[in-house]
């Protein structure tokens, strides 16, 4: 059963990523990206990284994707519904992709994957992450929080009562 779900997620990721890359409607591409992000979140769950999976959804789907959609809708004239894109420099692209593929395959193939899988028991990750954030990575955590607070204050300043 779990394997079946895994394959569904796999197909979802590949299909939506293909749609993002090859689709010629920009808006469709952006919404297809949602499938990729959600699929990756599913993969995280299979890796027992539940917290990371949910963070993936909240940051990428709820945040970055919405930002992308806004960006596209606001930069183009919103009265024309269709915005098409077409791939350019296909030859160069194929070359780069082939190179990347070679590197990945040379790294992946020599390894004996099936034999090395040992099912791991599910451990709660939230508490560990929290503990680490407040001990080993406290300074980084504080810097990030100050950064975010700055962003919040900036956003609040932008939201004026009088437009």
């Amino acid at each position: 059963m779990a394997e079946f779900i895994f394959w569904i997620i796999w197909v979802l990721i590949i299909a939506s990523a293909a749609l993002v890359a090859f689709g010629n409607n920009l808006i469709h591409s952006v919404f297809a990206l949602m499938g990729t992000f959600l699929g990756v979140a599913g993969i995280y769950i299979f890796l027992n990284a539940d917290f990371l999976a949910v963070t993936q959804i909240v940051v990428y789907v709820g945040g970055i994707l919405v930002l992308l959609v806004f960006g596209i809708m606001l930069t183009n004239q919103i009265t024309t519904a269709r915005i098409s894109q077409s791939s350019v420099q296909k030859g160069l692209g194929v070359l780069v992709v082939l190179g990347l593929l070679t590197i990945i395959l040379t790294a992946v193939l020599p390894h004996d994957w099936v034999g090395s899988i040992t099912p791991m028991a599910f451990n709660e990750t939230v508490e560990g992450i929290g503990r680490l954030l407040f001990t080993d990575y406290l300074i980084l955590f504080e810097i990030a929080s100050v950064l975010l607070l700055g962003a919040l204050i900036g956003a609040a300043t932008l939201a004026r009562k009088e437009l």
Partner: protein, 415 residues
């Protein structure tokens, strides 16, 4: 719940042969279907209740024709919507137009997987439950933008843009408010949050008024946080006074303008699912979830005595208003209270069913939301942003700090 259902299926000799994965998959399907049925039925009931509540607030009767007191009206309406012609505007983006409503619906239904209905009734006991609910409901924005964009209608696009801006703005203060609660419990698991609110204690720890250990009574900051959360959540689910994205007097119907028939019904379904979700979250996080307010010996008897008092008041009210005597509720509650005082164990048993208390709390919150809707005018879009960024956000940040300081003062945490 999925695993226990699978185990239960496998415990039958005839079915044991199907093996664990199949049984597990079957249980998964059954539980998902149950959640969906709950959401669908919930919407049908809530639409009826909303119409009745609004009618009573507006000195009219509401639906009266279909069924007793119009109780089948929404069923009839749902059937009508199912039969309607499936219209997709010619200039619409057909793919997104079709997907949009489903994205919204799925996002709002899936969240119910983490909601504990009672101590045992829970689809998935997730240790990140609260975070899961918050993150999944953020997908709704995309569905709304999708629907609004695909309609290829200026009004729809305005609605979608307003909605996206609104939901994103209110997610931040709502999230910070929730963090305050998480800081008190030390867990994201909704079930743990509910269990942490069992028993009775003093109001705000020191004031000697015995109250249930709900977080709304935990400290003044969480008391305030409950209201902030309710406000922010009302805005997140686009209900009046924050129904700006679909404000029918300005944007016709906002992002729903071009939708009709079944697709429109999906919007409605998810709207009520979201309202219910907010009510569930408020009751789980601040009002003790499925915890009974009278869960202790003595408490139960007091509770039933209060019930009797209410029943007597109701009878007097009916006598004065309708000039007729209805003795039944008083009699019933008197008998129960008497039994409760005589047999304390019985009282405790009667007062403890979690599902009842959970749904009672949810119903009260939903009633509150309806009350808002039928009394307030609507804010303007810039005023809405102002409220979010300049009022609620600073308060929720201070609130978070206040909770931490309070816990340090009361000795719940040490450094």
């Amino acid at each position: 719940m999925i695993q226990s259902l699978a185990n239960w299926i496998l415990s039958f000799d005839i079915l044991a042969g199907m093996g664990n994965p199949v049984a597990w998959g079957l249980s998964l399907f059954v539980v998902s279907a149950l959640i969906f049925v709950f959401v669908a039925l919930n919407a049908i009931v809530l639409v009826y209740i909303e119409r009745k509540v609004s009618a009573f607030m507006q000195v009219r009767l509401g639906p009266m024709r279909v069924g007793k007191f119009g109780s089948l009206q929404t069923v009839a309406d749902a059937l009508k919507l199912l039969q309607k012609e499936d219209i997709i505007p010619q200039m619409a983006d057909k793919i997104l137009f079709v997907i949009g409503p489903w994205v919204i619906l799925v996002a709002s239904v899936v969240t119910f997987a983490a909601i504990p209905f009672s101590d045992t009734l829970l689809a998935a006991n997730m240790n990140i439950g609260l975070f899961y609910v918050v993150s999944i409901s953020s997908i709704v924005v995309l569905g709304i933008v999708m629907a609004g964009w695909a309609s290829n209608n200026k009004w729809s696009l305005y609605g979608a843009m307003r909605s996206a801006a609104q939901i994103i703005s209110y997610e931040i203060p709502v999230g910070i408010t929730l963090i305050a609660v998480v800081a008190v419990v030390g867990s994201l698991n909704l079930q743990t949050i509910v269990i942490a609110q069992g028993g009775t204690g003093n109001l705000f720890h020191w004031i000697p008024i015995p109250l249930p250990n709900w977080f709304v009574f935990h400290d003044p900051f969480l008391f305030l946080a409950a209201f902030i959360y309710l406000t922010g959540a009302t805005a997140e689910i686009n209900r009046t006074p924050f129904d700006i994205p679909e404000s029918e007097s300005e944007l016709v119907a906002g992002f729903m303008t071009e939708f009709s028939g079944l697709r429109w019904a999906l919007f409605f379904l998810s709207e009520y699912a979201n309202a219910t979700l907010v009510a569930f979250l408020v009751s789980i996080i601040f009002l003790g979830g499925w915890q009974s307010p009278f869960s202790t010996y003595g408490g139960a008897q007091v509770g039933f005595s209060i019930l009797t008092l209410l029943a007597i008041m109701w009878t007097v009210f009916v006598k004065i208003k309708a000039k007729r005597l209805s003795i039944f509720p008083v009699g019933l509650s008197l008998v129960i209270t008497l039994c409760a005082w005589l047999f304390p164990g019985f009282a405790l048993w009667l007062a403890s069913p979690g599902l009842f208390w959970m749904l009672l709390k949810v119903a009260s919150i939903i009633f509150l939301l309806m009350w808002f809707r039928w009394t307030f005018p609507r804010l303007r879009v810039d005023q809405l942003m102002y409220v979010s960024w300049k009022v609620i956000l600073p308060i929720s940040l201070i609130n978070l700090m206040g909770v931490a300081v309070w816990m340090w003062l009361t000795g719940e945490i040490q450094f």
